[in-house]
Point group: C2
Chain length 234, copies 2
């Protein structure tokens, strides 16, 4: 029976796709992918491009990144309806999403519109912070340790609780929130224990070990994450 | 130059290995793997077995699971020395570890004994809880949400803070700690929001949605994880 497949592409390096993700891309009839903000190829599409059969039909669709919820919902509804029709017509349809589909992905909004109506399957991917800690070769957690993942847009209260309670704290989507995050890390004396990584596993990956000298007004990549290693030497 | 490669196998399904992990297994000269506790094949080895060249030399080594730190350290030293000699002699050596190498893996102890002496590379893997949320198709985090990962052996205080502060809480290595965890979830009224998964992505995977009726004295698999979804209907 035809199905809808959500596929996590991993963080950037094409080889960090799973074997299952690769096999799925080779068998589907049609692939949906988020349209890039600027002209050019979508990042998710670049990652999987080595595995796509030449004949695969690719449909880029625009997901508005705006504050207006109804504008976003309209787009999700339209794209979900389009996918629904294709799967009902017997096509196996894929959708690619950066990192892991269950971690901060717009894919969730498509899935909740589809899963009651057609068969769906979701294939995990490597999260950017996971790839980062492997590239650094500094363990996220050992033995009795704990870690937490917070978006930089979370409240100061939540970020402070995370920094106080957990061995390792991952702060995602840093971007324009860098001044706030730098202030919170400074207050806790954690700047020297923090690593900033932009564009993890990509060709233009950038790693800053220790954030004491980082200019917080610097414009950093949209794909920037901080790992705070409270219990390691970095 | 010869290298030491740590490879995350993912949670259990062979197809959840990364393409990079697969390619590395195909090119190394020798593979080290933890010896199973009982006789039979190691789980990590079963996961990667579809990709291993017939001629690949496989060395199972015993990692003692005991409280005596010096016994464990002796074993890590011996295995690290053996690997060191092989890499120095020009062999590319691999080591496989369940899930992701940077998340609760004994691999960390080998790596810290090797990384100053030889070239090392670590290849990420899908963590069991990540595979679980994808199998359930229930997002771990959306938008401003947060999640945390704690071992069931952590203090009640840490687990309670996690349950109070984060949208989603992943409790790993539940096993014999089930009575304690069930009590903490009950106190917070979170039993109905919790999912227990044993042997994620394996053939004998077992999923219990909502833990109100779970007998906490039941013997559960060593590979059991609870996801507490505070903000989702499960």
């Amino acid at each position: 029976m035809a199905k809808f497949y959500g596929i996590g592409t991993g963080p950037g390096d094409s080889e960090l796709l799973t074997v299952k993700g690769k096999k799925t891309l080779e068998m589907i009839d049609c692939l949906y992918t988020p349209e890039p903000k600027k002209k050019g190829k979508s990042l998710a599409l670049s990652i999987v491009s080595p595995y796509l059969p030449e004949t695969l039909e690719i449909k880029q669709r625009h997901f508005p990144m705006v504050n207006d919820l109804s504008e976003k919902e309209n787009a999700w509804n339209d794209i979900a309806n389009e996918i629904l029709e294709e799967v009902k017509a017997g096509k196996n349809v894929g959708f690619i999403t950066l990192g892991d589909p269950m971690v901060y992905s717009t894919y969730s909004y498509l899935l909740e519109r589809l899963s009651d109506h057609i068969e769906t399957e979701t294939i995990p991917g490597i999260s950017s912070f996971c790839s980062m800690s492997n590239a650094l070769q500094i363990p996220l957690v050992m033995d009795e340790e704990t870690y937490s993942v917070v978006p930089a847009t979370a409240s100061e209260n939540v970020i402070n609780t995370a920094l106080e309670t957990f061995s390792t704290v991952i702060i995602m989507k840093v971007s324009i929130e860098l001044p706030k995050i730098k202030k919170l890390l400074e207050e806790k004396g954690l700047l020297a224990s923090s690593v900033l990584i932009s564009n993890a596993s990509m060709e233009d990956e950038k790693i800053i070990m220790g954030l004491e000298d980082l200019d917080e007004t610097e414009r950093i990549s949209y794909f920037s994450t901080i790992i705070v290693y409270k219990t390691r030497k970095i």
